[in-house]
């Protein structure tokens, strides 16, 4: 069966529209009718990766691909990249600017939160080469 694929553009530094893409992802997943708990986890990951692009990413795109057995969310950007991926997964570690932290973002919980909510995460990034995050969710455990 061919999959449904959608993409959402994210602009760097655009805090006014930040979160719109993940809300659309959430609404698409709801229309398809997945288990609410899986939708919740996927939306949190979409939101965290969208905020990462807004804060560090340069411009980027989030791709949503869905099947009846799984959901994949991919976030790509051409921004500053991640120097030490292992460190970025540590709770509280943040490279966010002070002004972002004053807005209540950049608490160093982005990637840790993604790891907690996705069934598997792959990160491909190096300094100044942009970032690619692949988040995978199994959906078939509640739909036999």
């Amino acid at each position: 069966m061919p999959h449904l694929k959608k993409e959402f553009q994210v602009k760097a530094g655009d805090f006014v529209h930040a979160g719109k893409g993940s809300m659309q992802i959430q609404s698409t997943l709801k229309t398809i009718g997945y288990d609410p708990e899986i939708i919740r986890r996927a939306s949190i990951c979409a939101y965290e990766s969208e905020m990462n692009i807004v804060m560090h990413g340069g411009d980027g795109t989030i791709y949503l691909t869905v099947d009846d057995r799984w959901i994949i969310i991919e976030a790509c950007d051409d921004g500053v990249g991640i120097e030490d991926i292992e460190l970025a997964f540590k709770e509280g570690y943040s490279t966010a600017l002070e002004e972002h932290q004053e807005m209540g973002f950049g608490a160093g919980m982005g990637l840790p939160n993604i790891k907690k909510n996705a069934d598997s995460v792959k990160v491909n990034s190096s300094k100044n080469k942009g970032t690619y995050i692949n988040m995978f969710f199994r959906t078939d455990k509640n739909h036999g």
Partner: protein, 434 residues
């Protein structure tokens, strides 16, 4: 999921007068659940899940849409009649009329018993505080909790945000608690059968009726009839002028009275709370909660009407003037709760506040499809959407291009109904939907 959900019933609680409706698109555009269509016969019709928010009633420039309500001549027929009222009623007659006068005037209208609900509101506030404290001890409790008071918000959650149902404390609303308690006490004291007692509730809310007939949070309502404030306004006003009695019926303080306006409920809750009102803000905040963004907040008071219940479709006074009036009453009666904490805790522990039913999602028709079928459907919808101009004009009779694409795929309308595409036959042929 499908088999546990309540099926949406065909009964709709608003009526569209076909003689007055000219088929404009305002109600269709305003409907938050996209339940209205304006098809070939040029009259608006309701076909989806109605949450009875009253938006269509409010926007209709011709007064063609009316909620279905109890007729006021039904009041006299009952053996024993009790009336309770939303605190909004206290704000409808200007600054000189006191709550007690209004309650006395209600008594003059022939109700056997008039009950001031404001006091129960204050008790309810304490129960919410207890519930917050209890849940904060549980590691996996959902946050924030969501007020169960606004019936439209509850239905909106059951329909569009079912994952948030567990955020609603399983509490009966104060008007339900009042109805249950007075019925219980009267039948114990005077030996009336419970079914011979009729509890009326005076309300500014267009959704009260639906929340009584098909409650989401309980199996059946203790309230028997809803009366819109506008329906009894003139009779009540006449009785207000003729008052001679001097009896105290009003007991609540400012906390209970303040419930009529946005922020009024949470003013009585000592915790980290926010109040949100208006339909678009409510939806925006529910989306935020669904993404886990507000988990540090304890309790959110949502009211679908702007400014809270004061802005309900059945009010008579202007909502901002009514607010001024209510704020004055709140100052006059004071913001200290006059409820004994220990007394409420005992009630809470015996389950006095709790409902008898777990909230169930209300589902739209597409949710009966399997996930695979829905993905297929979404893809076809996207294909149609690619052809549409995205002007969101509503001239096709569907509220926006996306909903039109859904309607085309579901077979309820032809793609030729798009006024832009009908000039562009080539595109229609490519889509194969003509």
């Amino acid at each position: 999921m499908g088999n546990t959900a309540k099926e949406s019933k065909p009964f709709v609680y608003v009526q569209i007068d076909e003689k007055l409706c000219n088929g404009c698109v305002l109600c269709m555009k305003a409907c938050p659940t996209k339940a209205i269509r304006v098809r070939d016969n040029r009259v608006a019709r309701i076909q989806g899940v109605c949450i009875d928010c009253g938006e269509c009633v409010r926007v209709c420039p011709r007064g063609a849409i009316k909620p279905i309500f109890v007729q006021s001549d039904e009041i006299e027929k009952d053996i024993f009649s009790i009336v309770s009222s939303s605190a909004v009623l206290y704000s409808q007659f200007g600054g000189d009329v006191m709550p007690n006068d209004i309650l006395l005037a209600l008594k003059r209208m022939g109700f056997n018993l008039v009950y001031d609900q404001g006091y129960t509101n204050e008790i309810f506030n304490v129960a919410v505080e207890l519930h917050i404290k209890e849940n904060r001890k549980k590691p996996d409790a959902p946050w924030p909790l969501i007020s169960p008071i606004c019936p439209v918000v509850v239905r909106l959650i059951a329909y569009r945000f079912p994952s948030l149902l567990k955020h609603i404390p399983p509490f009966l609303t104060p008007s339900e608690i009042v109805a249950r308690e007075v019925k219980k006490r009267l039948s114990a004291k005077y030996g009336y059968k419970q079914e011979d007692i009729t509890v009326f509730h005076i309300t500014p809310c267009a959704a009260k009726m639906i929340s009584m007939r098909e409650p989401v949070l309980q199996t059946s309502s203790y309230l028997d009839r809803a009366i819109g404030i506008g329906q009894i306004y003139n009779t009540l006003k006449k009785n207000l002028h003729e008052l001679t009695e001097d009896k105290v019926l009003h007991h609540s303080g400012g906390v209970g009275i303040g419930w009529g306006m946005t922020g009024g409920e949470i003013a009585g809750v000592n915790a980290n709370c926010i109040a949100v009102s208006g339909i678009s803000e409510t939806i925006r905040y529910l989306e935020k909660i669904e993404m886990g963004l507000l988990h540090e907040t304890d309790y959110v008071e949502f009211r679908i009407c702007t400014e809270g219940c004061l802005g309900g479709p059945f009010t008579v006074a202007d909502k901002y003037q009514a607010k001024h009036c209510l704020q004055r009453l709140v100052r006059m009666f004071g913001m200290e709760k006059r409820v004994k904490y220990e007394y409420v805790r005992d009630l809470y522990e015996t389950g006095w506040f709790f409902t008898d039913q777990e909230a169930m999602p209300l589902e739209a028709s597409s949710s009966y499809l399997s996930v695979a079928e829905n993905i297929e459907r979404q893809k076809r919808i996207d294909e149609v959407l690619q052809l549409l101009p995205r002007k969101e004009c509503g001239a096709c009779g569907s509220p926006d291009c996306h909903t039109f694409a859904e309607d085309v795929i579901d077979g309820s309308v032809s793609i030729e109904n798009c006024v832009f595409l009908s000039h562009d036959k080539d595109k229609i042929r490519i889509s194969g939907e003509s």
